[in-house]
């Protein structure tokens, strides 16, 4: 409970009367002190009880028009205040806007005397992704004389989940052609009874005509067949390059935005199939970050949160498992093949080897190796990176292959993201052709699928202009 200036003036009056009583030696003035002080106490108790009763009789609700929005998208939050019975005085309920949100400061709903309900709405937007809690509404009560003011929290909070801005039209394909495939069901390298469709691809001579997918054929005007694969449990390792070179592109549609979008989609597909998922990210200064794959809701949520918060730049390495130790014997134990610390420590402490040195220097390659070092069983590695350092990407793809494992590289052509990159369409097309050569080289690797990822409109701009130029000549 807060007191106003009038309260202190009244206290001053009581004290002044007491002083005057002593100076004038008139005890009757002390009756004034007792009267004012007693009156203030009685009123204070009454206001406190009334405020508590008002808060108890009040039901407040915060209703955002959407509980999940994109960053910077407007959200209208309605405050509804309801009394059990009409009050003889106005009751004001205030709902402040969340800290960090832009737009209105909040809203105040005032229930008029004799009424039972009131509502008010404010609009705000959240510039940052994440979970944002809306502050609890408060009801402020001031007595008619203006002596006391008390604020009580009323109602419960609500939450808005803000997703980062997403790219609008994402193209995933080969050579400009979109891929009509599912990336959930996974290959076992064998077929048999009880198989499920895994991929739809163009018909090639020799395919079983019984596997022709007539719906895709009718839709795409070319003959497509559906491949069937046996179901298996498979660990999904998502490797994302989050270095500064991934920040190229318009706001909300940078390479990293596309990479995060692809990774989130892969996560959701894996979650639908309840496959274990692990996320491995590498930042600009080579720092690795990863967590052990798991098929739990907590793991899916943690990976989802990390992808939403994905930013370029350095990150703390996943060195929670690394401990400093002294002594040669302990050092040898750390660097032994079976040691979980070996992958992180060998580049620093182990004897240099030509291939290892190169991997050691390239964090993306090292990141691609980490999941295979740690995991058993079948691993599907999805590498999401651009083509800024093609040699590193190729090495990372090779490092991720192992036995029956499959690797899918989602490649973001730099030419499609550079500002002004399409100003010279001919040059852009040549750069795209160069990228396509690189992509096909990876795609031809055993156990590797390489796909392009980029803005659909820009790919169309590059290829469409080329087609128009060819048809015009």
């Amino acid at each position: 409970m807060q007191v106003t200036e009038r309260y202190w003036a009244a206290v001053g009056t009581a004290v002044a009367l007491a002083g005057l009583a002593v100076l004038a030696d008139r005890a009757v003035l002390l009756w004034g002190t007792a009267a004012v002080g007693g009156w203030l106490l009685a009123r204070q108790v009454a206001v406190r009880r009334s405020a508590a009763a008002t808060a108890d009789a009040l039901t407040t609700t915060l209703l955002p028009d959407r509980v999940r929005v994109r960053a910077d998208a407007p959200v209208a939050v309605t405050l509804v205040a309801r009394l059990d019975e009409p009050a003889g005085h106005p009751v004001a309920v205030e709902a402040p806007a969340p800290v960090g949100a832009t737009g209105d400061d909040g809203a105040t709903a005032t229930i008029a005397p004799g009424e039972r309900e009131a509502s008010a709405t404010y609009e705000c937007a959240f510039p940052f992704s994440g979970r944002h809690a809306l502050p609890r509404p408060t009801v402020e009560v001031t007595d008619a004389g203006g002596w006391f003011r008390t604020t009580e929290a009323a109602g419960v909070t609500a939450e808005v989940v803000v997703d980062p801005r997403r790219p609008r039209a994402v193209h995933v394909g080969r050579g400009g052609d979109a891929v009509a495939a599912t990336y959930g069901d996974h290959r076992a390298g064998r077929s048999g009874a009880g198989t499920v469709p895994a991929e739809v691809r163009r018909y090639v001579p020799g395919d079983d005509v019984r596997h022709i997918d007539w719906a895709a054929t009718a839709r795409l005007d070319e003959v497509y067949v559906r491949e069937y694969e046996a179901e298996t449990d498979r660990t999904t390792a998502i490797v994302v390059d989050a270095g500064p070179h991934m920040a190229v592109g318009p706001p909300g549609e940078t390479k990293l935005d596309f990479a995060a979008h692809v990774a989130l989609t892969l996560l959701e597909v894996a979650a639908d199939h309840r496959d274990p998922v692990g996320l491995y990210t590498v930042g600009g200064d080579g720092e690795l970050r990863w967590d052990r794959p798991a098929a739990t809701r907590a793991q899916y949520a943690a990976v989802r949160d990390r992808l939403r918060a994905l930013e370029t730049g350095g990150r703390r390495a996943g060195t929670d498992q690394v401990r400093r130790r002294r002594g040669a014997g302990q050092r040898a134990a750390l660097l032994a093949d079976g040691s979980p610390f070996a992958p992180a420590l060998r580049p620093l402490l182990g004897p240099p080897r030509e291939r290892r040195a190169r991997f050691r220097d390239d964090p993306l390659v090292e990141t691609a190796r980490v999941p295979l070092r740690e995991l058993g069983g079948t691993v599907w590695t999805a590498i999401v990176a651009d083509d800024t350092d093609r040699a590193a990407v190729a090495d990372a793809v090779r490092a991720a292959r192992r036995g029956n494992d499959r690797v899918t590289a989602f490649l973001l052509p730099d030419v499609l993201f550079e500002p002004g990159g399409l100003a010279d369409v001919e040059a852009a097309y040549e750069a795209y052709r160069d990228f396509e050569t690189f992509r096909r080289g990876l795609d031809r690797m055993e156990g590797v699928t390489a796909l392009e990822v980029g803005p659909a409109d820009r790919i169309e701009a590059v290829l469409g202009a080329r087609r128009r130029g060819v048809s015009g000549t």
Binding site: V15, A16, L17, L20, W31, A34, G37, G38, T142
Partner: protein, 158 residues
Amino acid sequence: MSAARPVGLARGDATPAGAAGLAVLAAGLWWLAGPVGLLAAAAVGALWVAVPAVYAVGAGHVLLAAVTAAGTPLPALLPAEAGLLWLLLATGLDLPGSPAVLAGGLGAAAVGVGLVAWLAPSGVAWAAVVVLALFVGVPLGGLGLDRLVERIEGGADG
């Protein structure tokens, strides 16, 4: 009670219920000091209309002491005092649960009147200390305790 913050000059608490208290005060002061007492009552009435009753009652006590002789026994001042207390308690009628407020106020008034009457022969200074401790110190202490509880509860919510 309203939820609006008070602004500007304090307004008076003049109500029909309080007018009866003013009448009692006027009668008491007339009985004690004749026309001078009546003038004092009129001054209190004017203040009662213009400013919150608590200030008018404070001024009323000063005027009561001024228009009466120093040796006037306290029981003789009770009728005028009753009028002043009536002015003060009438302002509690706007509160929910006003009967409880009135009862509490009357109880506090009775304690205050009795305490002063009992302590006055021992010296006004001593009486002043006791009255201040009880009737100013206790409300302030309760206020501090209330704020502490609010901070604890607010921290638990956050």
